[in-house]
Amino acid sequence: MNRSRSRFGGYRLLSGVMNYSDTSIVASTTAPFLSLEGVRKTYPGVVALDGFSMEVRPGEIIGLVGENGAGKSTLMKILGGVTRPDSGTITVDGVAHDGLTVEGSLGSGIAFVHQELNLFENLDVAANIFFGREPLRGGPLKLVDRARLRIQVAPLLKRVGANFSADTPVSALSLAQQQMVEIAKALSIKARLVILDEPTSSLPLAETDKLLDVIKALKIEGISVIFISHRLHEVERVADRVVVLRDGMLAGTLPKSAINHDQMVKLMIGRMLKEREKASEAARAPGSVALSAKAVRTGAYPDRPVDLDVRHGEILGLAGLVGSGRTELARVLFGIDERFGGSVKLDGQELALKSAADAVAHGIFLVPEDRKLTGVLLDLSIAQNISLPNLPAHARHQLVSASAEVATAEKQKNNLGIKAPSVATRTGTLSGGNQQKVVLAKWLAMNPKVMILDEPTRGIDIGAKAEIYGLMRALADAGVAVLMISSDMEEVIGVSDRIAVMHEGQISGILDKDDFSQENVLLLAVGKKPR
């Protein structure tokens, strides 16, 4: 995007919502704990933050939203003291700074809970919370005073509502519990502002509620919270005020009364999202069964047989809590994991599926959960990634034809709108959404029969999400059987034709379009009957 244009647009948006922020500032009388004034930060070739201002008052929960690349991570780095802004002031507790240091940030009570947790899995909860600050016994050996440690940890755990004890090893905790440990850690340094970066992105639904409760408890203690999330309905639930970043600028501030999904999206992308996928209302004639799993058992739940049919021309949503065995099922269907009994049929023909190569040969493709580790090869070019599963078709006498590769890749690049200088661009330099499109492109180039997508839009900005929904629908319309695993409730309900829900390794129920509701999915996900 052209910078001058985006700046212009930013100003326009800014003025358009000024009245919101004005009222909220007027309404408040307490002095802000933190305020940013005209913060600008540039990286080579990129203006990451362009005169950004915001403030956080004690006991306030700020929802910070924005598309990927809007400048959220730069803002976090500045607040954490990892980078210094080029210009602008940061006022913490009434003291103005040009930039913070890591120690300064910590010392003034700013604590972070990152998306990737920084815990030592092999140590117990107490050791993690007081790592490097353990109470010591006297004497030359400086042994850890375990008794005192436990006394200090107990109240912290209570404050975050922990249901586990201080000597539990972190590896035995669920993700949400680990996040509670991180928050307890923040409390232990007497944090006055806790910044949570995408805390719920990998949390199952039930655990998300617990975390949101903890956030509200922090507010009651007068601790401020900045809650960064792509899950807008969660922001809607907890935030007192929402700050929207776009192209490094403040796109707008929404007071509590004005926080709603559509407003946030509008500010985030500067327009209303029309492409929001809605399955066509006309009832579809269900196609024949494409992929049929009978009594399939996975390594995660070797004693729980799974039956599941995916039909031609449908998008079957696979919902459930994290750890319910959805990814493992996908991996078995793709031949990556060993199948512990049961059978898999494609169009009535039984498949052995001893490796992913078998699945690929039959037109069963997987867009895996972890894009960077298993989806693409970051060091290869776009063209090389797209041709990789079908390389012999791009070769003559076993010698790779670069021109054939480029031709295939160019076609897919245009079809999917992959934004890159050329197909020779290294895939690792692309944004998450474009990398995901490369994963899709390599399969689309080979006529899929069954397409399994595991969390296809995680960590992808809203614009690219809509495009990926459109692609899935186009695939289904072309007769492909689409199986979409997703933990995003809005996505599952908005995109699927049917929803299968997994609970502890088994399909607990399948919902037809008429029965779609968040409540029903949730009830099935925790093993109860839908209404």
Binding site: P44, G69, A357, L388
Partner: protein, 331 residues
């Protein structure tokens, strides 16, 4: 040819020029022929090693395999009087079987390459010594194999045939590594084996094939080494050859993490190593310092390469900043 390879070539030429000025005997045909013969022998070995390293693996048993297969080859043709073409094929097949076994242990039984091939290093050396009763395997007086000797230790137009063999193998292997489907799979696996698997590549088979290629080329070089030395004491023959091969690959720009390196790189690495050996002899450096010189040069080479990479990245960043200040687009 990549910039890295070009840099290495220039280094080889500069070192060569310096040695030639100090000791003009460097350029005598006999010296060049001897050196290129050694380049041929070690080059074949190093290319095999390179195929394993590109997958992120390592093959430590190379030296012991050279000793074992060399001993067997001499024994077969000199003592058991087997027809040499038959013995030749047998040894190559044995090399392939060794590679197959290593590859199978590594991919199917999920053992680490370092462990598998370290055990190989010990086992093959032990077997070789036991087989000859720790004696020396060699030809009896007056035994001649004119065709075989010509092909292995002979010369055509003054060029050692071992060197010519290396050139032929290099051309074939260059095509395999840089142009074939299999070569692309090797790089993909070296870069990220999981992602390669998720793209439907049968990674196990590809990795096994890499070890088989290494085994075959090692067997071939074992025959060349045997015919070059003509007598083998299994306790010391081929010792440290795996390290020569690994060093050549590393000097040539291979990463031990896999996924990086070129065939020209490993060839130039071999050339530089042999040039250094030659330098030690010609410049009157005590031969006991041989290994120290090699180690030092490799360390400096890798260090310069790495620092150059850091420097280049920084320059790119600075360029981009300057362009950014001149009004480049925002994200």
């Amino acid at each position: 040819m990549s910039k890295k390879d070009l840099g290495l070539l220039i280094l080889i030429l500069v070192v060569g020029a310096v040695v030639a000025i100090i000791n003009p005997r460097f350029l005598l045909p006999i010296n060049l022929a001897n050196t290129s013969n050694l380049i041929g022998l070690f080059g074949i070995l190093s290319i095999g090693q390179a195929f394993v390293i590109i997958t992120g693996g390592i093959e430590l048993s190379v030296g012991s395999v050279v000793a074992l297969l060399g001993t067997l080859f001499i024994d077969l043709i000199a003592v058991r009087e087997m027809e040499w073409p038959l013995a030749f094929v047998l040894i190559i097949v044995l090399g392939a079987i060794i590679g197959l076994a290593h590859g199978w242990l590594i991919t199917r039984l999920k053992l680490q390459p370092f462990v598998v091939t370290l055990c190989g290093l010990l086992i093959y050396r032990g077997v070789a010594r036991f087989y000859t009763g720790d004696g020396t395997a060699g030809f009896a007086f007056g035994q001649n194999f004119p065709d075989l000797e010509f092909l292995t230790a002979g010369r055509s137009y003054g060029v050692p045939n071992s060197f010519i063999a290396l050139i032929v193998i290099s051309i074939v292997m260059w095509v395999v590594l840089h142009r074939s489907v299999f070569g692309r799979y090797l790089y993909a696996i070296g870069k990220n084996e999981e992602a390669a698997k998720y793209s439907g590549i049968r990674t196990g088979r590809v990795v096994i094939a890499a070890y088989v290629i290494c085994g075959v080329l090692t067997a071939l070089s074992a025959i060349y080494f045997a015919m070059y030395t003509r007598s083998i004491s299994p306790a010391s023959h081929g010792q440290f050859y795996e390290l020569y091969a690994i060093a050549a690959a590393v000097l040539g720009g291979f990463s031990l993490r896999g996924g990086e390196g070129s065939l020209i790189g490993v060839l130039l690495g071999t050339v530089l190593l042999q040039e250094l050996q030659n330098l030690v002899n010609l410049l009157g450096i005590p031969s006991s310092l041989n290994f120290a010189v090699m180690g030092g040069v490799i360390l400096i080479g890798v260090l310069v390469d790495q620092q150059w990479g850091v420097f280049r990245e920084r320059r790119l960043m600075l360029d981009a900043t300057r362009k950014g200040a001149a009004g480049a687009p925002a994200e």
